[in-house]
Symmetry: C2
Subunit: 403 residues, 2 copies
């Protein structure tokens, strides 16, 4: 019987991990790689905002990724992990493991704000993108024949809660969709209102000020109203309550204000920290269970240089997925594992179809900043970097396909 | 105040009706045309089977259709029609009419077969196509890692209930999707099973025998198992019961075995016949309410030549939508109305991507039959006939767009 390496979650970290493992272990019949996810596709999560506003190919079938690889895919959901018996309890079966990699990603955090969970859209899954798009199209169709000016205004008002990367990128895309829908329905373009509400002092916290300023400028150009130091405190049907500011009548609220990790991990006896992320050592091993690793959003990894926690971001998930594959391989072969060193490769923010901002790390601690329309080519290169990484591992292109 | 002409339903009949009305009345400020539908798009219903198996553009935004036309669109659902007060009660408002055209189309008829409504997929809406496709992809992903041979067989078994046009066209498309999924998941192509179950003596009843034989031959080539004179009598989770034949373990059942008209019409006091279709006279007027018309599936029109009811089919819906627009215009102008004369323009059956069968009516009571691969070009022409009709009315192309 081969030993089982089970990777939970087919996000950035999980996919990168199984592809690397497959490469390292493909001539070794003593190990079987397993991948588990609730969907039969890998979701390009950093591009969800695009699909929320227009047709965009943001899924890659798992079948295409594991084709001709020695990876068993389990389409199911985790209910609990039994660490002592080394098994994952899922909806329809138990999956036993010798090594486990937890890469389940994150969910929307509604922070128990009243009404938010019931009335707000979120942007975490492929289905969410369809719901948002469908809702906006319906809102404009309804507004067109609505006789009451108050109702019409409400239908044409969209509030985005959370001014982080997701909220900002989504606001820009939605501004473009709103322009298109206004034209289609012959609604005066000054009527629809888009609000971006951020509780912190600035949008895009932790991003360079230069980039923040450019992003703000572009959003204002796109007629997005930005309110910082403002909290969403309640949502009712058709009404968003903010502080300060009172009530905004709005048919659509999209909440991008926070993430959290599934409570299944804590309930399974794993020690967790802020957001429910699992405490790990420098090799990304879980304490007391050296055959269990956590990666990406699930791992509360520490940047040894700064002593700070590694943020939840796709680029770090990709790095960690690959590192853990290498570490499992090292452990199997009695070699020393490598610690995780956070490398910031850059920051890229897309604002609608035509504008990209950000910077990329260059050798020698240099930065290449880019603004404006000409960065578009670069954007394509960057947005396909992830696919490129997959390709590097696999030597054949895996392209995003329609689901 | 202009008089209101309200058309309920943006299907084939309703769309054709409002476009014709708009053309006839566009210089007449005394009339306002209204269109109501629960979706902000016109669905190309005769192509649902394509979208169930692959990505196909089968919706046209209402905004594109009514652009620059004097048509008010109401995105809502009918709750009841008050014939005496001449108003349509909807989810969110009352719509008053001077003339009413009922073109609400049909729903799936489950004939109270136990379990069918709960466990079977249907194929009537855009959402249905996504659900079927998603379900099949999940079934194959699950089958790949399933250890129990019984469970695996169940996952790979698809039953289509109803061997009419929809069932036959769907079976062919699904056979092609199954082939593709088998290849992707490296599942031996002889494993998946597709059953087509028809209660009547033959598939495609009322179609020419020559065409039936060709269709059968092609389905058998595609490894579809056809059972005629066989009824679906019950469905439980993962099990379809047929008579004769007993139990088929199957993860997927798609029911295309019948249609019915919404009970709202009867409940509104309209006199209805078989399937709940509204009784109409030769001008498609509703008895006792000469300002109310029914068209398409909703109208129990009689073919005066044969004395038989006009079947529910897109081509007759298109004819009736246009006729009723003309009749309303005639009535307004004190001219005589024209009776409905059923014209069969042809029958076209698509069997997957590459094969089309059928015949088209030619002048002088002649028929052009076509079989085989070369009919594909003709198929495109025919499948776009509906769009062509819209174009004829509007002088600008309305193309199917992604939703």
């Amino acid at each position: 019987m081969p030993k089982d390496i089970v990777v939970l979650g087919a996000g950035y970290a999980g996919i990168n991990c199984v592809i690397r493992l497959n490469k390292l272990l493909k001539k070794n019949p003593d190990y079987q790689i397993h991948l588990m996810d609730r969907n039969p596709y890998h979701l390009l999560e950093t591009r969800l905002h695009e699909a929320a506003a227009r047709q965009a190919e943001i899924t890659i079938p798992i079948a295409a990724i594991i084709h001709k690889r020695n990876i068993i895919f389990h389409l199911t959901e985790v209910i609990r992990i039994n660490l002592n018996e080394r098994k994952v309890i899922t909806l329809d079966k138990d999956i036993y493991y010798d090594y486990l990699v937890i890469a389940l990603g994150s969910k929307t955090n509604f922070y128990d704000i009243p009404g938010l969970k019931d009335y707000a859209f979120q942007l975490k899954t492929f289905d969410d993108t369809y719901k948002i798009r469908d809702n906006l199209k319906r809102a404009f169709a309804k507004a067109k024949s609505e006789k009451s000016p108050e109702e019409r205004k409400k239908l044409l008002t969209i509030v985005i809660g959370g001014g982080g990367l997701t909220g900002v990128e989504l606001a820009a895309e939605i501004a473009e969709l709103v322009e298109e829908l206004s034209h289609k329905w012959e609604i005066p373009p000054q009527e629809p209102q888009i609000y971006l509400i951020e509780a912190g002092e600035t949008i895009l916290p932790a991003v360079e000020k230069k980039i923040i300023d450019k992003a703000k400028e572009n959003l204002i150009q796109k007629k997005v109203k930005i309110s910082t130091s403002t909290k969403v405190v309640k949502m009712e049907s058709g009404e968003v309550f903010i502080e300060p500011g009172g009530k905004i009548p709005a048919y659509t609220l999209i909440w991008t204000g926070g993430i959290r990790i599934s409570s299944i991990l804590k309930a399974s006896g794993l020690e967790v920290g802020p957001l429910g992320r699992i405490k790990v050592n420098q090799f990304l091993e879980v304490e007391n269970f050296s055959n269990v690793y956590a990666v990406g959003d699930n791992a509360l990894a520490v940047n040894p240089k700064t002593g700070k926690f590694v943020p939840c971001a796709a680029q770090f998930a990709l790095q960690q997925g690959r590192l853990v594959a290498n570490n499992i391989y090292a452990k199997i072969n009695g070699k020393p594992q490598k610690p995780y060193r956070q490398k910031v490769l850059g920051e890229v923010i897309s604002l609608g179809r035509h504008l990209t901002l950000g910077w990329l790390a260059l050798p020698g601690n240099k930065k290449l900043s880019f603004f404006g329309f000409l960065a578009n080519l670069l954007k394509r290169a960057v947005s396909e970097k992830h696919l490129f990484l997959l390709w590097k591992e696999s030597r054949h292109w895996v392209r995003a396909q329609g689901y």
